[in-house]
């Protein structure tokens, strides 16, 4: 994806004055533009204020990025500026502030559209995050498209948020939830998936990348297989958007869901992409203000896309912060970020393999920078506590993927996950911490 400095100000389409002010005031992230060789991780780190704080007297080593990422100063500043200068409700006022807020809100939709290369702004629905986006599809699309005996196909690697909404739908509709298995490396077994595609398969819901194992799933192939079978595809892109460039048109997926907070934006905001023709045919999900054109007690006429799916006052601050975060990522270059993270993945994997008794869970050929592991004789929770005392933040547990843990016959793993600002030195700190764990336990 090419850096899109033109999108930098989120208020490009705002009133004249706001436009000019933004152009002057939005500070350029110090993230380096240009080819990979220029990727200056130390400069990027300086953009994230939290990274310079210490935890229990030690420098923070934040390796829990698959749970949520830290926020760059430009995003934090953007939220402050919104509340300091622009706060107002959107789509409802004729006054100046409401115009500014509405313009920024809609400009953010354009930013998201470009970021994932959707065809039209109408195809971008703002949601609270991935979970809400998936629930929206399950409940709205599912309500009219899934009948008794139909099937929804998911995979064994899914996050609970791409399992439970479909389970609820299937229960309600007496439909069947089917699950494509994964192999010992954590790769989806495509032959099995093909076998599970039947004339009754209405939709395939699959993660772009696994938060628990890091596996990057061959979604283009899965989408082609599903479409050949006449099934729609929803991609859970929570771990896709932060780590690779996304082109929903090239992928040809029908839905793509992601969360802002995993890509350096605030919590509580995310988006659902849906093909216009499909979204258009779906019934509204939640009812309320903004999603209507006119209301009488006899009949309500619903608003056009995407507003039909955005009932009530939205998370305006979140939407504006999301655009600032995506602009920041674009300036650093998602390809540069991907290359940097891949280097960290390779380096950390190599170093972890040297640790006695350590087993990496998830050894797919294509992985995002997520490493799950177990350490012989030590429960992940104990590892997490000891690393925390070293200032190293990792996640331990089942990673909202209990069926996947069962598949690997383990109750939990420890997981280190990397982002654009992590360094090899931080991977080293993880290793040093693990040696402390071993020292305590042996």
């Amino acid at each position: 994806m090419n850096p899109r400095s033109a999108d930098r100000g989120t208020a490009d389409r705002g009133p004249q004055t706001a436009d000019r002010r933004n152009a002057e005031e939005v500070p350029l992230p110090s993230a380096v533009r240009g080819p990979r060789s220029d990727y200056d991780v130390e400069r990027i780190r300086r953009d994230f204020p939290i990274l310079s704080r210490s935890i229990r007297g030690r420098k923070l080593v934040y390796l829990d990025n698959a749970a949520t990422t830290q926020k760059p100063q430009v995003v934090i500043d953007r939220l402050v500026r919104y509340y300091t200068e622009e706060n107002s409700n959107v789509h409802r006022g004729v006054h100046y502030l409401s115009e500014v807020a509405t313009a920024d809100y809609e400009a953010a939709r354009t930013t998201v559209k470009k970021f994932i290369n959707a065809r039209d702004e109408k195809e971008i629905v703002f949601t609270r995050g991935t979970t809400e986006a998936i629930n929206l599809v399950a409940q709205s699309w599912g309500r009219v498209n899934v009948r008794e005996g139909d099937e929804i196909l998911i995979t064994a690697i899914e996050h609970h948020s791409n399992i439970v909404p479909w389970q609820l739908l299937c229960e309600e509709k007496k439909a069947r939830l089917r699950v494509a298995p994964v192999d010992d490396d954590g790769d989806i077994i495509l032959d099995e998936l093909a076998r599970l595609l039947t004339p009754r398969t209405r939709l395939v819901a699959v993660g772009h990348a696994s938060n628990a194992l890091g596996t990057i799933n061959p979604i283009a192939e899965i989408i082609a297989m599903a479409h050949a079978n006449g099934s729609l595809v929803l991609v859970d892109g929570a771990q896709g958007v932060p780590h690779m460039s996304i082109d929903v048109q090239a992928l040809d997926c029908d839905f793509y869901a992601f969360s802002g907070h995993k890509v350096y934006a605030p919590t509580g905001i995310g988006a659902l992409y849906g093909k216009e023709s499909i979204l258009d045919a779906m019934p509204p999900w939640q009812g309320g203000g903004d999603m209507i054109l006119s209301v009488s007690f006899e009949k309500t006429t619903f608003n056009a896309l995407p507003y039909k799916f955005e009932a009530g006052t939205p998370n305006i601050e979140g939407v504006i912060g999301l655009a600032a975060a995506l602009d920041y990522v674009s300036l650093a270059g998602i390809e540069n970020i991907a290359a940097h993270e891949h280097d960290l993945l390779t380096y950390a994997t190599g170093r972890l393999r040297e640790v006695d008794g350590l087993r990496i869970i998830g050894t797919a050929k294509r992985k995002a920078a997520v490493i799950s592991f177990t350490l012989e004789g030590v429960h992940p929770h104990d590892i997490g506590t000891i690393l925390d005392r070293e200032g190293v933040a990792i996640r331990t547990g089942h990673h909202c993927a209990q069926p996947l843990m069962m598949r690997f016959n383990i109750p939990a793993t420890s997981r280190a996950s990397f982002a654009m600002y992590n360094t090899r030195a931080e991977a080293d700190a993880l290793i040093t911490g693990l040696h402390k764990v071993i020292e305590v336990f042996r």
Binding site: H381, G384, R389, M405, K436, F441
Partner: protein
């Protein structure tokens, strides 16, 4: 490292490696499961209750060192005790791991002392207390399963 050594005292590490009463019980009169959803601790506690007395107790399951050691110590300390005595021990243990110095209950035998470091680790209190909540539920026949949430 010192507060970590406080948390992971030798006694805890020993109970973790070699938990006492770690077995199923075919003729149990009561069986209750305990979960800690945060970290996936999962134990089943078996009891043989005779009138008011815990004749036998055992457990199986999986979890972190703190939860496993705590379940192990709990099982040895309540064996042969009455419900009331077990409830009193619960209170002693609870006060210890939550750092509550008030009250007049005392850990007379110092049996629970190895868990005193837990109070410094708020996220680990649930791990330590899980076994005791599960026991309480089993004794008072409240629920078939207990979670720390």
């Amino acid at each position: 490292m010192s507060d970590l050594r406080e948390l992971y005292q030798q006694v805890i590490l020993d109970h973790n490696k070699n938990p006492r009463n770690f077995r199923e019980m075919a003729d149990a009169t009561r069986k209750v499961e305990g979960f800690n959803p945060l970290c996936g601790d999962h134990y089943t506690i078996f009891l043989k209750i005779d009138g008011d007395v815990i004749r036998d107790i055992s457990f199986v399951g999986n979890g972190c060192a703190i939860s496993k050691a705590s379940t192990s110590v709990m099982s040895s300390s309540v064996k042969g005790k009455t419900r009331e005595e077990a409830d009193a021990l619960f209170d002693v243990f609870h006060k210890l791991v939550t750092g509550d110095k008030g009250g007049d209950v005392e850990d007379e035998l110092g049996r629970f002392a190895p868990f005193s470091g837990v109070a410094e680790f708020p996220t680990r209190v649930k791990c330590a207390i899980l076994a005791w909540h599960t026991l309480k539920s089993a004794l008072h026949e409240e629920k078939e399963s207990v979670t720390t949430e």
